[in-house]
């Protein structure tokens, strides 16, 4: 059997912000169809990792390939759901207008959106079961609803890879479970990487877990033990065995 096609490949990626090392020697291969959760404490570089995969930041050293291409040119094949509290809740914008933004890359340069843009947006809203919220103001949605709308916006362009940054950080536990169920369904057709520090639903949903603290260790979900996670979060800096950084290929 031929090895599964790699969606994302990082080789020896390091990133320094001014003089502060944020990521150190990260090697990671995400096969097509994977559902990877990246967990780790705040400030461990999870968001930076996503931004490097998106090509919003360039690694200080190392290489990144997305679908075999440089991240900037593969951008249209990635859907991204950023952490949302930065969005202004007072902004007068409807759910429909926000989801349509996912079509900006494909739509014509000038003037309004076309019929096919509206159809794609409606389909994405059905994918996340939110089509009845179409006309609502973004600022009036609950945290869980807002998150699903932002996932819909990322799905409009039919991406092959979906990146999510803390998708359940500001929602209650029921909405959190629903979002992970939704992601599990989307994983049937999309490679997913989610960054999180809510551990509750992660192990039940995802296929692999990467523990991060500047460096990265990958495990199949079954191998993540409570003890490992406890060490990652409550122990001193050297949490998981950092002497041997395991490439995801080895972990499988």
């Amino acid at each position: 059997m031929s090895p599964p096609e790699a969606a994302i490949e990082l080789a020896h990626v390091s990133f320094r912000y001014e003089d502060v090392p944020v990521l150190e020697d990260i090697s990671l291969t995400v096969p097509k169809g994977d559902f990877l959760a990246v967990i780790g404490p705040n400030g461990c570089g999870k968001t930076t990792l996503l931004r490097i995969i998106l090509g919003l930041l360039s690694p200080t050293t190392g290489t990144v390939r997305v679908k075999g291409q440089a991240p900037e040119s593969a951008r249209s094949r990635i859907g991204y759901v950023a952490q949302n509290p930065e969005l202004d809740r007072q902004f007068p914008v409807t759910v429909k207008e926000v989801v349509l933004m996912g079509r900006l890359g494909q739509s014509r340069l000038f003037g309004g959106y076309r019929k096919e843009d509206h159809e794609a947006a409606e389909a994405a809203m059905r994918d996340v079961d939110m089509d009845r919220l179409w006309g609502r103001l973004m600022g009036t949605l609950s945290g869980g609803q807002r998150q699903r709308v932002l996932i819909a916006r990322a799905l409009v362009s039919r991406p092959e890879i979906l990146l999510l940054d803390e998708p359940t950080a500001h929602v209650d536990s029921r909405a959190e479970r629903d979002i992970y169920e939704l992601l599990k369904r989307l994983n049937e057709r999309t490679t997913i990487i989610t960054v999180t520090h809510d551990l509750g639903f992660v192990s039940a949903t995802v296929k692999r877990v990467a523990c991060m603290d500047r460096r990265l260790l990958c495990h199949p979900t079954a191998r993540v033990t409570a003890e490992m996670i406890e060490r990652l979060y409550h122990g001193p800096v050297h949490m998981v065995d950092h002497h041997q950084v395991i490439d995801s290929e080895d972990a499988r």
């Binding site: 969005l87 207008e97 890359g105």
Partner: protein
Amino acid sequence: MSEFLEALSRHAFLQNAIAAGLLAGVACGVIGTYVVVKRIVFISGGIAHTVLGGMGIAYFLGAAPMYGAVIAAIVAALIIGLVSLKANQREDTLIGALWAFGMAIGVLFISRTPGYNVDLMSYLFGNILLVPRRDVVGILVLDAAILTIVLLLSKRLLAVCYDEEFARLQGVRVSGLYLLLLCLIALTVVILVQVVGIVLVIALLTLPAAIAGHYARSLTQMMILAAALGSLLTIGGLAVSYQPDLPPGATIIVLASVAYLLSLFVRALLNRRRRRQTPQPAE
């Protein structure tokens, strides 16, 4: 008020003033909406004040002040825009410095201009009653340019204002559009300077849009409502100021401020009532 209407039918200068007020209202409603939702009031204030530098230079060179103002405003917008894009920290310090520097340049050039220096006051505080017919035509052209650009780029401008990072990932040229938006603000400032002057521009740019923002459900609604309010407040202020012979610019701004306070109050009442009628769902 009846005296104002009677004078309006007789005096061409009042008709020009009304036309300028209506056109200014449209520009301030449309562009003011972007200023308010993108929270770039301070940057807009910087552009408005830096314009005095260019107007002063144009005045010194004997060029038509409105052409000078357009060029100055665009240059000021680009400088301030680049500063705010490039300076990661202390952007407000730099903009504040440019704000005062532009004004100082303007004052120096105006003081060196031979002849009678009455224009400084009307640059600073405007005089809608002195707008000549050819400036009304100039304002009309600027209005048309602003509206055309906004219509063509509305969906991209919305994305840049709401979620810059997402827009960038969609291939939208965020920095270019941001600079374009600042240039549109600059053109609007040129229009509004004729009506209320440099010092008071910022109120007319923000207050109608802020009031509209209390009720609007989309940027388009907010723009239409703000344009109507801008025109109404400008002409209302002009009418109120006419008989007691008050400065029209200042009267317009006081009227707009009172309207904003009233709207805050009305919205608070509406919200309280809504909360009582429909309990918020838990999720």
